[in-house]
């Protein structure tokens, strides 16, 4: 087995060189399919004259369209807010996916323009992030990016892969737990089985990513790389699966559903009907 090269000899190589491109293709196809579906259902209706309240009201309306549901959740669904929005989204997967240094490196490799995100990248481990604050020494070796004196400053004590992954794990587990409870104890059908499954895939991605990043579990010297590549392979497999199913599952909200929904609501409620 070629464990270090790029041959398709292990899970990692398979995941990166075979599975990921296929997942990407499925993702692109899925996106096109979903958008075309919407176009197909679109027809131009005769619209009533909108109520004109002025640009200021329309702008404030835009902010409130995005903000109000968050405040509503904070007031009426505190657990959902803390575990769902805060842990899972804001402090979990969003910074992890888009800002974790390893992901930035990977995305920048695929899409060079993504390098602009480097100044906002967050380090992988809690230990190194503490060191960037307590012992901010530039590394001797030449590196394209160092975490010394970053824009996040002492915030890297929280904004690092370790802490954020733990929060995301807690948030995802909470979601899975509540979904199972709602579905199987309370019998509510809005807790969908497919949603539980896609959360389980996310959990797998988080766990394997965390273990790989920490080089866990400890293995005898020399075999470490094998375990590492296996975990990374599983991580990439899971992440690629998420990418492939994104257009067909609830994750579609990340790139389309959320934005379409909010902008439509803003136009309908604030621009057209003039609610302030």
């Amino acid at each position: 087995m070629n464990v270090l090269g790029s041959a398709l000899g292990d899970i990692y190589s398979f995941a990166i060189y075979c599975y990921f491109p296929v997942a990407l293709a499925v993702f692109v196809f899925g996106c096109v399919y979903r958008i075309l579906r919407m176009v197909f259902f679109w027809h131009r209706p005769m619209k009533a004259e909108p109520r004109r309240r002025g640009a200021g009201a329309v702008f404030i309306g835009l902010i409130r369209t995005f903000l109000d549901p968050i405040l509503f959740s904070l007031r009426y669904r505190k657990w959902g807010f803390v575990f769902g929005l805060l842990f899972l989204h804001l402090l979990g997967v969003i910074p992890l996916i888009f800002l974790l240094a390893h992901h930035v490196a990977f995305f920048a490799y695929l899409m060079p323009f993504y390098s602009i995100v480097w100044p906002f990248a967050i380090p992988l481990s809690a230990t190194s992030s503490v060191l960037t604050v307590t012992a901010p020494i530039e590394p001797y070796s030449q590196m394209s990016f160092t975490f010394v004196n970053t824009v996040w400053g002492p915030l890297t004590i929280i904004l690092n892969g370790d802490v954020l992954t733990v929060l995301a794990l807690v948030g995802t587990s909470f979601k899975i737990g509540t979904k199972i409870y709602e579905r199987f104890v309370k019998g509510l059908r809005n807790a969908r089985i497919t949603d539980i499954l896609v959360y389980a895939i996310l959990l797998e991605v988080l766990i394997t990513g965390y273990l790989a990043a920490r080089h866990h579990p400890p293995t005898p010297v020399g075999t470490d790389i094998i375990v590492y590549r296996m975990l990374m392979g599983l991580h990439v497999l899971g992440a690629s699966t998420l990418l492939a199913i994104l257009p067909f599952t609830k994750y579609w909200h990340i790139i389309f559903g959320y934005w379409y929904g909010k902008f439509h609501e803003w136009y309908d409620l604030r621009v057209r009907r003039g609610a302030v």
Partner: protein
């Protein structure tokens, strides 16, 4: 044909539609087709992009009756049909991906139960982080429910009476209309020329306005005169509360009535149409008429509060100042669906030093729980209608099963409205002013049930002696 015979014919027609027992596959197929036909790009978003987070749940008045009435759980009924018929995964995997058509009596009973636990208030729409309007999906399911026959007889009856214009033959209603017109003439000291073509303003009260708050109808006429406007009004009502068909989800029948209303307005040719109903009639005529009829109206539809604000701001109207402890209950249709979030409060602040907002107001205001026809599904209401129309109340309840449904709905309604009443209590108001007849009845009922001493008035009723 005498009005009694006419009503009996209507009741016969209604009987053929209403079916609370059994499962008729043909009707279900037809109903599924209706649901699918009602899907456009926006509803596609509502159907597809819900992540099931449940954030919308606390916004719904019926969530406080039972968790199963959360907006998302109710809307799943529409999603299950959609997935089964219009998604590949749903067609292949069926229940594994929550795709399933109603297939037995129990399913139909659950659909109608969910449908009449939604007022289409729109609170879930603004609470949802994804802008998903579960109320709109429940309207789709309402059409399903009606087509399969699970529709309250009282609603089917009122819809048919309005569509066939039978209300014009009912003595009690004809007299109610005539009395209001007479009173307007007396108060104005002149005879208002009804249906006058070329009038700049067409004042369009409906039968429900005249029955629920005749004083408000008269006060509006007084206001129009006081503002020196060139106005007229219909010589006979354009509908009971047109189009009632929307309340049971029948858009094709709603179109018939709406077209009649539109043609009448066009025959007068006004620049402005003034409404005083703040319920569904307002957003329907203001925003949906062009979409439903595919026309570009030449007139502007205004609610009376808009005219009040405009007149006050331009200094054309001075109102008597008082110290009443008064608050405004925002009808969901006029506020969340109609966008009139600030106008009524503006007017009431001008009138009373004692005006106070409800703790939950504007877009965040609590729904009273009576909309979507729910406020009409009570024994008291059914008896009142039977008396008014001169029919036997028993004819307005088709079976024991429907009777049980009414009982359950009434029970749920009385729980759902409590949140609103608590809000009113907290405000310390002694007078609740609003603009929707259903809200008025609901709040009055709630105040009685939960021991809150408030007077409930239509805004024009409240302003009657202040103009």
């Amino acid at each position: 044909m005498s009005h009694t015979q006419l009503l009996q014919t209507i009741l016969e027609e209604v009987k053929k539609v209403v079916r609370w027992e059994g499962f008729d596959g043909k009707r279900v197929d037809e109903a599924v087709k209706r649901v699918l036909a009602g899907i456009d790009v926006v509803k596609l978003h509502y159907l597809e992009n819900c992540v099931g987070c449940g954030a919308c749940a606390p916004s719904c008045p019926y969530f406080y009756v039972d968790e199963k009435y959360s907006p998302v759980n109710k809307a799943e009924e529409a999603r299950r049909i959609y997935r089964k018929k219009l998604t590949i995964a749903g067609m292949i995997l069926g229940p594994l991906v929550e795709a399933r058509l109603p297939k037995n009596e129990e399913d139909l009973d659950r659909v109608v139960e969910f449908v009449y636990r939604c007022t289409n208030c729109g609170a879930c729409y603004t609470a949802c982080p994804f802008g998903i309007d579960s109320g709109a999906l429940m309207v789709l399911m309402k059409s399903f429910s009606t087509v399969v026959g699970r529709v309250p007889t009282i609603m089917a009856f009122l819809e048919a009476v309005e569509r066939l214009e039978a209300y014009k033959e009912i003595p009690a209603l004809v007299n109610a209309w005539k009395n209001v017109v007479d009173q307007i003439n007396r108060e104005l000291g002149r005879v208002v020329e009804l249906d006058r073509k070329g009038s700049k303003v067409l004042y369009l009260p409906t039968l429900i306005d005249v029955i629920s708050y005749p004083k408000a109808v008269v006060a509006t006429a007084k206001l129009l005169d006081k503002l020196g406007l060139d106005w007229t009004m219909p010589s006979e009502p354009i509908g009971i509360r047109p189009p009632i068909a929307v309340v049971i989800g029948l858009s094709d029948r709603a179109k018939i009535v709406l077209k009649r209303v539109y043609d009448y307005i066009e025959s007068i040719g006004p620049e402005i149409v003034v409404l005083i109903d703040g319920g569904f009639v307002y957003p329907l005529l203001r925003f949906e008429l062009p979409i439903r009829l595919n026309v570009k109206p030449r007139f502007r539809v205004m609610h009376i509060v808009e005219l009040l604000v405009e007149s006050i701001e331009k200094g054309r109207l001075k109102l008597k100042y008082v110290e009443d402890k008064v608050t405004w209950h925002p009808p969901c249709q006029m506020t969340r669906r109609g966008g009139l979030t600030i106008e009524p409060e503006y007017v009431l602040k001008v009138v009373s030093r004692g005006f106070r907002r409800l703790p939950h107001h504007g877009l965040e205001s609590y729904c009273c729980g009576g909309g979507g026809g729910i406020g009409c599904i009570t024994f008291e209401f059914i008896e009142a209608i039977a008396k008014m129309f001169g029919v036997d109340a028993k004819q307005l309840i088709s079976s024991d099963k429907e009777r049980r449904f009414i009982e359950e709905t009434e029970k749920a309604y009385k729980i759902a409205l409590k949140r609103k009443i608590d809000d009113i209590k907290k405000s310390g108001a002694e007078i609740v002013v609003t603009a929707c007849p259903t809200c008025m009845r609901t709040i009055a009922l709630g105040a009685k049930l939960y021991g809150v001493n408030v007077k409930v008035l239509h805004i024009m009723e409240y302003l009657y002696d202040k103009i």
